[in-house]
C-alpha cells in the first residue's frame, strides 16, 4: 500500500483532503451545538421561550428535526450533505442551500476581488521596497504606512471610510449590494462594492506585503542575483524575471492560508456596509443559534479554504520545479 501511495501522490493528497473534509463535517455539526442556547430564543424571544411548556418546546424544535437525539441529527446531516440537502434555516425559513446560494456570490465577489487587489498591491509595494531597501520614502515609510493601515481594525476603518466617503462627501451609497431603482445594475453593484472592497483590501494587504518583502529581500542576497548584476542585467529585469519567481512560493502560501482570516474579516466588513454576503448570514445565524444554517455555512467556508489550499498545492508544482520533482510529477 505504501509503495502504491508513493506512486500516486495526487491520490494520496486527495485521500488527505477527503479525511479533512470528513473531520470538517463533524466539526461543522458539533461547533454550533457546543454554544449555549438553542433556536427557540430567536423564534419566539427569550422571555416568551421561557414561558413555553415543555411540550410546546418539543413541538417547536421538532419543526427543524432538532428534537431528535444528537446521533440521529448527525446522521441526518451527513445524509443531507451527501444528497445536497442541508436542511431548513431556522432564521430564514428557507432551505440552507438557497440561503447560502443567495449570499455566496456576494462574498466571493468581495473576497475574490479584495484578494486579487491586495496581492497586486502587496507585490507592487514589495517590489518597490525591495528595490529601494532601507530608503525612507521607497521602503521604510512604505512599510510603516502599510503596517499602520493593515493593523487598523476593519470595523474602525470601514466606519471611517463610510463616514467620509458616503456621509460627508455623498460620493457612494452606504449600504447594500444592488440598487433598488434608477441605476443600471452594473453601476449599482460597483458603487456598493467600492467601500467594502477598499476596506477588505487594505486589511489583507499587510500580511502578504510583509511576506513578499521578506522573501524578495532574502532572494536578493542569493548568488544568482550577484551573477546577473555582474552580467549587466538591469535591476528591474532581475527583480521581475528572477527574484520574484523564486520568491513566489511563500507568497502564494501565505495568500492562500490567509483566505480563512479574510473570510472572518468579511463578516465585520459586510456588517458595517450592510453587504448581504455569507458573513452577515453567519453572524445572524450565530445570534439565532440557527444550527442548520451554521453547519452548512461552516462547511461551505471550510470547503472554500480547503479548495484554496488545494489550488495552492497545485500552483506549487507550476511555480517551483523542485516541488514537481518531489511529488514525482513529470516535468
Amino acid at each position: 500500500m505504501r509503495r502504491q501511495s508513493r506512486r500516486h501522490p495526487v491520490g494520496r493528497r486527495f485521500a488527505q483532503y477527503g479525511l479533512l473534509l470528513g473531520l470538517l463535517v463533524v466539526g461543522s455539526f458539533a461547533l454550533p451545538r457546543l454554544a449555549p442556547g438553542d433556536p427557540l430564543t430567536y423564534l419566539v424571544g427569550g422571555n416568551e421561550a421561557a414561558a413555553f411548556s415543555s411540550e410546546e418546546r418539543e413541538r417547536a424544535l421538532a419543526q427543524y428535526g432538532l428534537d431528535a437525539p444528537l446521533h440521529e441529527q448527525f446522521l441526518d446531516y451527513v445524509g443531507g450533505v451527501v444528497s445536497g440537502d442541508l436542511g431548513t434555516s431556522v432564521r430564514y425559513g428557507a432551505t440552507v442551500s438557497d440561503v447560502l446560494l443567495d449570499r455566496l456570490p456576494w462574498t466571493l465577489l468581495l473576497v475574490g476581488l479584495a484578494g486579487v487587489l491586495a496581492a497586486a498591491l502587496a507585490l507592487g509595494a514589495a517590489l518597490a521596497g525591495a528595490r529601494r531597501r532601507g530608503a525612507g520614502a521607497g521602503d521604510t515609510d512604505l512599510l510603516a504606512g502599510i503596517l499602520l493601515l493593515s493593523s487598523t481594525p476593519p470595523f474602525f476603518l470601514g466606519m471611517l471610510i463610510l463616514a467620509i466617503v458616503s456621509a460627508e462627501l455623498g460620493l457612494l451609497p452606504a449600504y447594500g449590494a444592488t440598487a433598488s431603482g434608477g441605476e443600471t445594475p452594473f453601476v449599482g453593484v460597483l458603487e456598493r462594492l467600492a467601500m467594502p472592497l477598499v476596506t477588505l483590501t487594505v486589511t489583507m494587504t499587510g500580511v502578504v506585503y510583509l511576506i513578499a518583502r521578506s522573501a524578495l529581500l532574502s532572494e536578493l542576497t542569493q548568488g544568482y542575483v550577484r551573477f546577473a548584476r555582474a552580467k549587466g542585467v538591469s535591476e528591474q529585469r532581475i527583480l521581475r524575471r528572477h527574484v520574484l519567481r523564486n520568491a513566489l512560493l511563500p507568497i502564494v502560501t501565505i495568500f492562500m492560508v490567509s483566505l480563512g482570516d479574510v473570510l472572518g474579516g468579511a463578516v465585520v466588513v459586510e456588517t458595517v456596509f450592510a453587504y448581504p454576503g455569507l458573513g452577515t448570514a453567519i453572524y445572524e445565524g450565530v445570534l439565532a443559534r440557527d444550527y442548520p444554517l451554521l453547519q452548512g455555512a461552516l462547511l461551505l467556508v471550510a470547503v472554500v479554504v480547503v479548495a484554496a489550499n488545494a489550488i495552492a498545492d497545485g500552483l506549487y508544482t507550476l511555480i517551483d520545479p523542485r516541488v514537481r520533482r518531489a511529488d514525482g510529477v513529470p516535468r
Binding site: 419543526q63 456621509a167 462627501l169 450592510a274
Partner: protein, 570 residues
C-alpha cells in the same frame, strides 16, 4: 491571428478604427453615464426608504422571529383590533366584538369587502383558521395567547362575517389585548402550507403594504395596497433596507440615503440629530426597559428581604440621568411600565440605601456574592449594570458581572442556572397583562416566585368576567410585586427616532411600536400625514460617476488612437 487582425496596420482596415474608439467610448457611457444620470434623478414616485436592523425572512408570522418583528409584520398583516398597547384599541378587521352573558364567549363581527393582497375575500374562515393554527399548530410567538392565556377552547364561524370565540375561562380582555395582538392569516394560502415554520413563500396579508420583492439580506420592496380598507397608504413604495450596524444606519440617515431609521437613536447622539437641519427627532414610548431579574429558585435571591434590599440600594433616578441623560422614566416609578394603560397606581420603588443595609443585616446576607449576566451587545444596559454594581457594593454586597450573548443568557435562565440577569423587556412583556400572567404561570424561573398572594390574584384575574375587575386585580398585583420584587426596573427609555421630514412628515410615535409602523404609514380620514415625492436616493452623488465615465472614455479613445498611430507609422 484574429487578435492581431484587430490592430492590423493594413490600410484597408484603418477606416473603422475611429468608429471602434467611438464605440468603446459609447459603451463606457452606456455602462456608466446614463446610469449616473438616472441615479441623480428623484424616483418620480412616492418612495420611502427605511433602515431596519435585520432580515425578517419573508415577513411571515412563523419565520419573522420574536416581537421585535411586530411593526414590520404589521405592514403586511392586520389584526382584528389595532395595537394592544393603547387604552382603547381601534377596530381594524373587526366591526364589533361583544362579550356574551356567558362571559366566556365573544361574538366578533367582521368588516365586509376586505380582500387579501392576492384578491381573495377576507372571511370568518380566515379568523377561525388562524386562531386554530396558533393554538394547535407549530408554536410561535402568539401560540400561548391562543392556547393558554387565554385558552381559546373553540373558534366557530357563524357566517361569513361572524366569529364566535369561546374561552376555557372568562376572558374579558380578549378584544382589547388578544384580538389586537394576533395577526390574521389567509386560510386559502396557509391551509396548503404543510410546515408553517419552513414556509418561505410570499407573505399575503390584508395590510396597507404588500410584498413586491424581497432581496435576501438586503432589502424588502413593498408596494401600497390601494384597496386598503383602513386608510390610504402614504407611500407608493416602501423600501426597507437591512442595515444591521446602527452607526451605519444613522450615517445613511444623515446623508439622506434613508428617510427614517426604525431603531431608536442612542442617547448620546440625540443632541447631534436635534441640531441637524434636515433630520427631525420624533419621540415615542416604546414600552421597553432595562431590568434586573432575580433567580428566586436558589440562594441568595430566594430571600425576599435581599431582593427588596437590592431594589432599595439601586439609585434608579441617577441611572436615568447618567445612562439615558434623563430621557425616559425612572425605575423608581415601579413596575410594570408606568404609562401602560394596564398599569394601576404603582407604588414606587424608592432609593433607600440605609434601609437596604438594614434588611441585608437582618437577613444576615452581608457580603453575599452573586453573578449578574449582562447581554454583551447592548452598551446601554452594560453601562447601567456597571453603575448598579457600584450601588450594590456600597450596601455591602459583592456582585460580579458576566457579559454573554443573548442566546447564552436565555439557555442559562431557562435551566435556572443563574443568580440574576439584566435584559431589556419589550412592550409584549411590559404592557400586555396576559403576557405577565403567562410569565408567572410558566414552569421557568418566574414560576419560582413564592408569593402566594400574587399567585392567588393572578389566578383570580383569569376567572373574573369583566375588564374592570381584571384591572383592579392587576393593580393590586403590581403593588405586591413592587413591594416584593422579582425584578427591579432601572429605567424606561423615552426613545427618539430619526426621520427626514422633507421626505415624509407624518411619522407618529405609537406606544410599543416606535415610529415605523402601519399607523404612521397610512393616512386615515383627517390625518395630517403627507408624503412628499422622495428626495432621498439610495446612492451617492452622480458627479463622480459622470466624471469617471468621461475620463475613462477619453482615455480609451486616446489610447486606441495612439496605438493605431504607432502601428501605422511602424
Amino acid at each position: 491571428m484574429p487578435g492581431r487582425a484587430l490592430f492590423s496596420t493594413e490600410g484597408q482596415e484603418s477606416g473603422w478604427r475611429r468608429p471602434a474608439a467611438a464605440a468603446l467610448a459609447a459603451l463606457l457611457f452606456w455602462l456608466i453615464g446614463p446610469a449616473a444620470a438616472a441615479h441623480a434623478q428623484a424616483d418620480g414616485e412616492r418612495t420611502l426608504r427605511i433602515a431596519i436592523p435585520k432580515d425578517y425572512a419573508n415577513l411571515s408570522v412563523y419565520t419573522a422571529g420574536a416581537s421585535d418583528a411586530d411593526p414590520f409584520v404589521g405592514l403586511i398583516y392586520d389584526t382584528l383590533f389595532s395595537t394592544p398597547y393603547v387604552e382603547t384599541p381601534r377596530l381594524l378587521l373587526a366591526l364589533s366584538a361583544e362579550q356574551t352573558s356567558r362571559q366566556r364567549t365573544w361574538i366578533v363581527k367582521l368588516r365586509d369587502g376586505v380582500t387579501w393582497h392576492d384578491g381573495a375575500p377576507f372571511t370568518a374562515k380566515d379568523v377561525v383558521f388562524t386562531f386554530e393554527l396558533y393554538r394547535d399548530g407549530p408554536p410561535n410567538r402568539w401560540t400561548h395567547h391562543a392556547s393558554q392565556t387565554p385558552n381559546m377552547r373553540s373558534v366557530v364561524a357563524l357566517d361569513d362575517r361572524t366569529v364566535q370565540i369561546t374561552c376555557a375561562q372568562p376572558c374579558p380582555t380578549l378584544a382589547d389585548i388578544t384580538l389586537a395582538d394576533l395577526p390574521i392569516l389567509p386560510e386559502h394560502v396557509w391551509s396548503k402550507v404543510k410546515d408553517p415554520a419552513t414556509y418561505d413563500g410570499s407573505a399575503v396579508g390584508t395590510g396597507p403594504y404588500r410584498v413586491l420583492r424581497r432581496v435576501p439580506g438586503e432589502r424588502y420592496e413593498l408596494a401600497a395596497n390601494d384597496r386598503y380598507f383602513a386608510g390610504r397608504p402614504v407611500a407608493d413604495k416602501l423600501i426597507l433596507s437591512i442595515i444591521p450596524e446602527p452607526s451605519s444606519a444613522f450615517l445613511a440617515l444623515r446623508s439622506g440615503q434613508v428617510d427614517a431609521v426604525s431603531s431608536p437613536i442612542p442617547p448620546q447622539l440625540v443632541e447631534s440629530f436635534d441640531a441637524h437641519r434636515e433630520v427631525d427627532v420624533v419621540k415615542a414610548t416604546p414600552f421597553s426597559d432595562a431590568e434586573l431579574v432575580f433567580n428566586m429558585g436558589r440562594a441568595p435571591f430566594d430571600s425576599a428581604p435581599l431582593r427588596r434590599a437590592v431594589m432599595l440600594a439601586i439609585d434608579k433616578d441617577a441611572l436615568l440621568e447618567t445612562v439615558l441623560l434623563g430621557r425616559g422614566i425612572s425605575g423608581s416609578e415601579g413596575w410594570p411600565h408606568p404609562r401602560s394603560p394596564w398599569t394601576g397606581d404603582n407604588p414606587t420603588m424608592p432609593h433607600d440605601p440605609a434601609e437596604a443595609r438594614r434588611l441585608i443585616a437582618q437577613a444576615k446576607l452581608e457580603g453575599a456574592e452573586f453573578e449578574i449576566l449582562v447581554p454583551q451587545q447592548d452598551p446601554v444596559v452594560s453601562r447601567a449594570t456597571e453603575l448598579v454594581v457600584a450601588d450594590l457594593r456600597a450596601v455591602g454586597l459583592k456582585p460580579s458581572i458576566r457579559a454573554m450573548d443573548q442566546p447564552s443568557i436565555s439557555e442559562l435562565t431557562m435551566k435556572g442556572e443563574f443568580d440574576a440577569y439584566v435584559w431589556g423587556a419589550t412592550a409584549h412583556a411590559l404592557a400586555d397583562p396576559t403576557q405577565l400572567i403567562q410569565s408567572f404561570n410558566a414552569a421557568s424561573y418566574m414560576g419560582t416566585y413564592e408569593n402566594e398572594e400574587v399567585k392567588q390574584l393572578l389566578a383570580a384575574a383569569q376567572r373574573v368576567p369583566t375588564a374592570t375587575e381584571f384591572r383592579s386585580l392587576l393593580s393590586r398585583t403590581h403593588a405586591l410585586i413592587s413591594a416584593d420584587p422579582p425584578m427591579v426596573p432601572f429605567f424606561y427609555p423615552e426613545q427618539r427616532y430619526g426621520i427626514r421630514p422633507a421626505s415624509f412628515d407624518g411619522w407618529k410615535g405609537s406606544p410599543g411600536l416606535g415610529v415605523v409602523h402601519k399607523y404612521s404609514l397610512i393616512a386615515g380620514p383627517g390625518s395630517a400625514a403627507t408624503a412628499a415625492t422622495s428626495q432621498s436616493s439610495d446612492g451617492g452623488s452622480s458627479l463622480p460617476i459622470v466624471l469617471i465615465a468621461g475620463v475613462l472614455a477619453v482615455l480609451a479613445a486616446w489610447f486606441m488612437r495612439r496605438r493605431w498611430a504607432t502601428r501605422t507609422r511602424g
